[in-house]
Amino acid sequence: MDMQNKRDAAFSHKEESDLHVPEFQASPPGDEAQLQESKGISEGPQSKKSLTPLQDSLHRLRRDIRSMVSSGVILFFIVLAIIGPSIYQHIGSPYQSTLNGVVPADQYHNFSHQELDRINEGPSAQYWLGTDGVGRDLLARLMQGVLISIVVALLVEVVDVVLGVLVGVLAGYYGGWIDQLLARFTDVMFAFPGLLFAILLAGILGDWASTALANVPLIGPNGNARLLLVSLALAFTAWPLMARYVRGQTLQLKEQQFVEAARTAGASDLKIILGHIVPNLFSIVVVASTLNIVNTIIGEAGLSYLGLGVQPPGSSIGVMISSASNLIDTHPWEILLPCLVLVAIVLSFSFLGDGLRDAFDPRSKE
């Protein structure tokens, strides 16, 4: 068992130490008050300052400069990706193009619009970060690329958390065949390290997805159909690990006295799971999914870089890197830009994940 655990921890692709985040103070909010009452402790003025474990953790997080800077960077990129494009498209006057006639700003500031006689330009008043090899606005492409990263991360994390918590809790609480099934399934997914499953899925079904879903709004255009496939593959490989963490935590929780107390009081399994187990999984799920976002964003960028994700003229950080990779001798800026943004985002999520873990479990810090 020990060996198994070690391997799991190693497979988290993250930290050597296991993701041991203890539950918040393992008692439902009501109990504490009752306990205090029964002990005859009166609510003195000083007890106003007592914090819930969550508040306590957030306090610790707020004091951690690295986590705060990381959160700031992440927030900046989220805002940039979501509201940046609509602002950017309203800035600038119509431009007299030699090839396309008069082009308004909302067109030449669109991530897929080409001005073939304005290729590989440096930053200017019209193109704030310059243009790429076929005359597309780099800032617009960058914002779209970051948006893609965020959307994929969100999609994958929803599946990861829902499936991981559901299966993990059931496996941990009931054991038996569902536990066995999880163990076997995890074994199989571990045989596809990292992106191998995604490469298989996107490689074989990619063309089909992009033609079959071509006319579906939002998903169809700009090669986003493949993106759905990539997200699916990434989520599919991610959730067993989440389920393992949740399972381990559930195993510990169900031995706790407050669960026993609830059971003695006649609470149903469902009530115990929803009322006592799931709320106490909060910290481990938050930490594990923050760290998994790192893998997801790298995964999407990597697959798009290999040509398996977003297709040009659609934009993604990976696509930007790959389409600039034959310009490294003449225009290194075009490849450095997406690389640096990707590094900034990935490092921020790593730091935030580490910070969250330390905040939830101060003992994990050496």
Binding site: D2, D187, I204, D207, G302
Partner: protein, 319 residues
């Protein structure tokens, strides 16, 4: 021990079956008729039927899966769809030595650089040596391989343009040959390839070493008056290395995924490079073959590390 081996073996068979089945069924379900693609818009129905039969594509899925498995055992991955009639293995064969060479060097550097880095860090815990080692490890670990690869290329190319240094950024040279020009080709890809593993092993070795140094038997050894050298190298280091055995599978995993990126960035004609090319030509059998081969490598790596661990640490058998 026998029971442990048996259990492990049954698990292995299950995983192998599952992996091959997933790989097979995706190709089976993939829409688009490869034979039709092969023949072009105008074709003779008889030729079509003959080819369909030749590729075994007219059989029901379970029979096709069985054939897939049966051929797999003989290292026969079927015929390529793209290069007419050419066995998949013949296509991949040329890439295997390059990928293997890259992989072995990558693994060697992961261990030879990563472990000493971690051990030194642990011995000098919380000094500037430790801090800088771990900072390097963190950066190497967090930045994706392909970004490191691309950045290295940018640096080399710019050095070439600015300073006139002459160093190749693409290609592989002769397989298993190490003349100066071969080394020039191989050095950077191998280093970039190993980077993530170096970081991983450094962090793992550091944690493991720190844990061992806190153990009672290390304190006992010190109390006995043994020299620090003996304590560190004979008592601590050996035991600290044990857990590292278990992550052999993980490190093979890094190598497998890394191969796709490194080979594509540096234009190394290995199986990762060939596979990505096959994806653009929809040559599914090639993709399937690569995925099965690599997944099996990982499964075997995990098995070997499990077995090794139970050999080096007898306590494991108890559970």
């Amino acid at each position: 021990m026998v029971q442990f081996l048996l259990k492990r073996f049954i698990g292995l068979v299950f995983v192998v079956l599952a992996v091959t089945f997933i790989t097979f069924i995706l190709g089976y379900l993939a829409p688009g008729d490869p034979i039709r693609g092969l023949l072009g818009p105008h074709f003779d129905p008889l030729t079509y039927a003959r080819l369909k039969h030749a590729y075994g594509l007219d059989l029901p899925w379970y029979q096709q899966y069985f054939n897939f498995l049966a051929r797999l055992v003989r290292f026969d991955f079927g015929l390529s769809f793209e290069t007419q009639g050419m066995p998949v293995w013949d296509i991949l064969k040329s890439g295997v030595p390059n990928s293997l060479e890259l992989g072995l060097w990558g693994l060697a550097i992961q261990l030879l650089v990563g472990i000493p880095m971690g051990v030194v860090s642990a011995l000098k815990a919380n000094t500037w040596v430790d801090t800088s080692n771990m900072a390097v490890a963190l950066v190497l670990y967090a930045i994706p391989t392909f970004v490191i690869g691309v950045l290295v290329q940018v640096i080399i190319v710019q050095m070439h343009l600015q300073l006139g240094t002459n160093w190749p950024v693409s290609g592989w040279g002769q397989t298993w040959q190490y003349s100066w020009s071969d080394i020039q080709f191989k050095l950077l890809p191998i280093l970039v390839y190993a980077a993530v593993g170096v970081a991983y092993f450094a962090r793992l070795a550091r944690t493991s070493m720190l844990e061992v140094l806190r153990q009672d038997y290390v304190r006992t050894a010190r109390a006995k008056g043994l020299s620090e050298r003996v304590v560190v190298y004979r008592h601590a280091l050996r035991n600290a290395m044990l857990p590292l055995v278990t992550v052999l599978g993980v490190s093979i995993g890094f190598l497998v995924t890394g191969a796709f990126f490194i080979e594509n960035i540096f234009n190394i004609p290995g199986i990762g490079y060939i596979t990505i090319n096959s994806i653009s030509t929809r040559d599914y059998p090639v993709i399937q073959a690569t995925v099965v081969l690599l997944a099996l490598a990982v499964v075997l790596g995990n098995l070997v590390s499990d077995l090794l661990y139970s050999v080096v640490d007898p306590r494991i058998k108890a559970s």
